[in-house]
């Protein structure tokens, strides 16, 4: 395959990529009116975006629902922190090893889990993830530092760094050749990986390989009788998507160099599933939209308290106000999960294709018809109900 072949894209894909890049790079500007333009949250936007698009390569294209993707996230984080401790605070080797390591992990877990499909596959991945969590939490304490989580220490060897930089006071910060990976630079570092990850996903969606994965989701029997060995296809998809999760985990460690076992818990795996379904399974942009929405709600709604609500509903008469505040306070702060649950139920019930389907219906309404669902336009027109 020549270089031109790698970069040849359809005009539509290229437009999407350019617009997507602009939207991502301009996050600090357009998020301001939403009160979400602080670096910490934007870093999470980029990181969970990577996680969700990677997960979608498996779930969206092949239909295999993994309930253990948080394990790869954790493996990525631990590997990155160990790379920091042993070699260098430069994020590049840390991410490189995070991706390789999570890919290896995904290969082993996928090799076993993909012998089954449907619910059995999901349960197997869940079991593996819980095993990884328990290993990280207790058994492998020497490697993972158990409950406390893996952290940097000033006594770490950092072989490569120590050759170039002398003793420093305090804990070092991950830095890209001197540029510290926190705050806005940290966000842009993650954002670039999100854009690269998105580009690769676009390529996969538009490739024969992507079509075969869709074929597996659509009719595995026909795939077999057409001469395809489906196992290597699903395993490759599983490994690629595990590597995305490892990259996300690595970036978490880059922006904040510590790794804890809770990152691997099943609730974390469930969150990835929610993001993908909320945004739109099998669509290019949906999982990112879902990830951003959930992270936004988590951070904004959970920070609301009664005082904020009293200010918000201050215009109402006193008696009414206290009732309204009483009711809405159940849905904010600690109760933001209730809001999320409600939104999720509404979306799955009325828009089984997620938010992207809602978007499609609205555009179809304005362009007058064309939304009869009969046209199969390759990549992002799939309106599969969540399975």
């Amino acid at each position: 395959m020549n270089l031109q072949g790698i970069f040849s894209m359809s005009r539509k894909d290229l437009t999407t990529l350019v617009i997507f890049s602009i939207v991502v790079l301009a996050l600090p500007i357009w998020l301001q009116p939403f009160g979400a333009a602080y670096p910490d949250l934007m870093q999470r936007f980029a990181i969970f975006g990577i996680l969700a698009i990677g997960f979608n390569i498996l779930f969206g294209l092949t239909g295999y629902l993994s309930f253990g993707h948080a394990a790869f996230l954790g493996v990525g984080s631990y590997t990155a922190v160990w790379t920091f401790k042993l070699f260098s605070m430069n994020p590049i080797p840390a991410l490189f090893f995070a991706v390789i390591m999570s890919g290896l992990f995904a290969f082993i877990i996928g090799f076993v889990s993909l012998r089954r499909s449907g619910i059995y596959f999901s349960i197997l991945t869940l079991a593996f993830a819980q095993m990884s969590y328990n290993l990280a939490y207790s058994v492998l304490t020497p490697i993972t530092n158990g409950e406390t989580g893996l952290q940097l220490e000033s006594s770490d060897p950092r072989i490569i760094d120590s050759m170039f930089v002398g003793e420093q006071a305090g804990l070092p910060v991950s830095n890209f050749f001197g540029l510290e990976m926190s705050g806005i630079p940290g966000f842009y570092f993650c954002a670039i990986f999100l854009i690269i990850g998105f580009f690769i996903t676009q390529r996969i969606f538009a490739s024969p390989f992507g079509m075969m994965l869709r074929g597996i989701k659509s009719n595995q029997t026909r795939m077999n009788y057409t001469g395809f060995n489906t196992r290597p296809y699903t395993l490759t998809a599983f490994v690629i998507s595990g590597m995305y999760a490892g990259l996300a985990g690595g970036l978490m460690a880059v922006t904040d160099p510590l790794a804890g076992a809770e990152r691997m818990q099943w609730t974390a795996s469930g969150e990835i599933v929610l993001m993908t379904i909320l945004g739109g399974v099998g669509t290019l942009l949906g999982p990112i939209v879902g990830a951003w929405l959930i992270k936004y709600f988590e951070n904004i709604f959970s920070s609301f308290n009664e005082n904020v609500l009293h200010n918000l509903f201050g215009f109402l008469p006193d008696g009414v106000e206290s009732v309204v505040v009483e009711i809405t306070s159940m849905f904010v702060g600690e109760g933001w999960h209730l809001t999320l649950g409600l939104v999720f139920v509404l979306v799955v019930t009325f828009l089984p294709g997620g938010i992207m389907e809602g978007y499609r219906r609205i555009t179809a309404m304005f362009t007058g018809g064309g939304g009869d669902g009969k046209k199969a336009n390759a990549d992002d027109k799939q309106t599969q109900p969540a399975e």
Binding site: P208, Y225, A376
Partner: protein, 256 residues
């Protein structure tokens, strides 16, 4: 396993298949000659579909072997059997409902060209001009070119079957197995399909057809095997089978 006749492509040798105590197939010995259209007929429950499933590797025979083109198929995976040149049309169409009609027809060509697995996730489907053109040509042949961008799942039942046939033909298989290719089709669709199958016959492709419709069988088959109760009770040219009293009793007799 030796085959007496040089021209035999598929040899179903002494195959038995039991499900629990039920003898679904007993002493089946079939020799399919190259380039011929061989029909397997028989009343419901005679074991026709079981026989086909044994050939394509979906079921393992209890005893006996299936030899195709000098290779033993028994024990091979369905995708391996396809890769040696056997394609199958199912009784209820097995297609990719969520993919477009064009993609449905393109997919088999990839299996033929690239083998059972190829990691080509950075190449572009849009660059596969040759396969696309071939697929469009095939869709023109079967009259589905105007539906090429539709979801295959929204095609009519008859169109789905024709598309499935086209999917198999894209691979230029050495042996094509058809399980009731015209079941549930209108008379008109049936005739179109017969014409299509006759065209394939001219290209010298070997075919095994399971069919209920005698009109289809007698207009296509070079040779007919009659299956009843899991055994072959008669075999011969359409004329011979038509005049065979055993067949008339077991099968045709019931219908007329």
């Amino acid at each position: 396993m030796t085959t007496a006749n040089e021209n035999v492509v598929l040899h179903v040798a002494d195959v038995h298949k039991t499900f629990g105590g039920l003898h679904a197939l007993s002493d089946i010995d079939l020799q399919i000659e190259e380039g011929k259209t061989h029909a397997i007929i028989g009343p419901n429950g005679a074991g026709k579909s079981t026989l086909l499933n044994v050939v394509v590797g979906r079921l393992a025979p209890t005893r006996g072997a299936v030899v195709f083109d000098g290779q033993v198929l028994t024990g091979k995976q369905p995708h391996e059997i396809n890769q040696v040149g056997v394609a199958r049309v199912f009784q209820t169409p097995e297609i990719f409902p969520e993919l477009s009609v064009l993609q449905n027809v393109m997919a088999p060509a990839f299996a033929k060209r690239d083998g059972a697995f190829k990691l080509n996730f950075l190449s572009s489907l849009a660059d596969e001009k040759q396969i696309r053109e071939e697929a469009e040509h095939m869709l023109e042949d079967i009259g589905l070119i105007h539906q090429k961008d539709m979801h295959a799942g929204s095609l009519s039942r008859g169109d789905k079957r024709r598309m499935e046939l086209a999917m198999c033909l894209m691979q230029h298989p050495k042996l094509l197995l058809l399980d009731e290719p015209t079941a549930g089709m209108s008379r008109h669709d049936t005739n179109t399909t017969i014409e299509l199958l006759k065209k394939i016959k001219e290209r010298g492709m070997t075919k095994v057809i399971i069919e209920h419709d005698m009109h289809v069988v007698f207009s296509l088959a070079d040779k007919i095997s009659v299956l009843a109760g899991g055994r072959i009770i008669a075999e011969g040219t359409p004329e011979e089978v038509r005049n065979n009293p055993k067949v008339q009793e077991a099968y045709l007799g019931g219908a007329h």
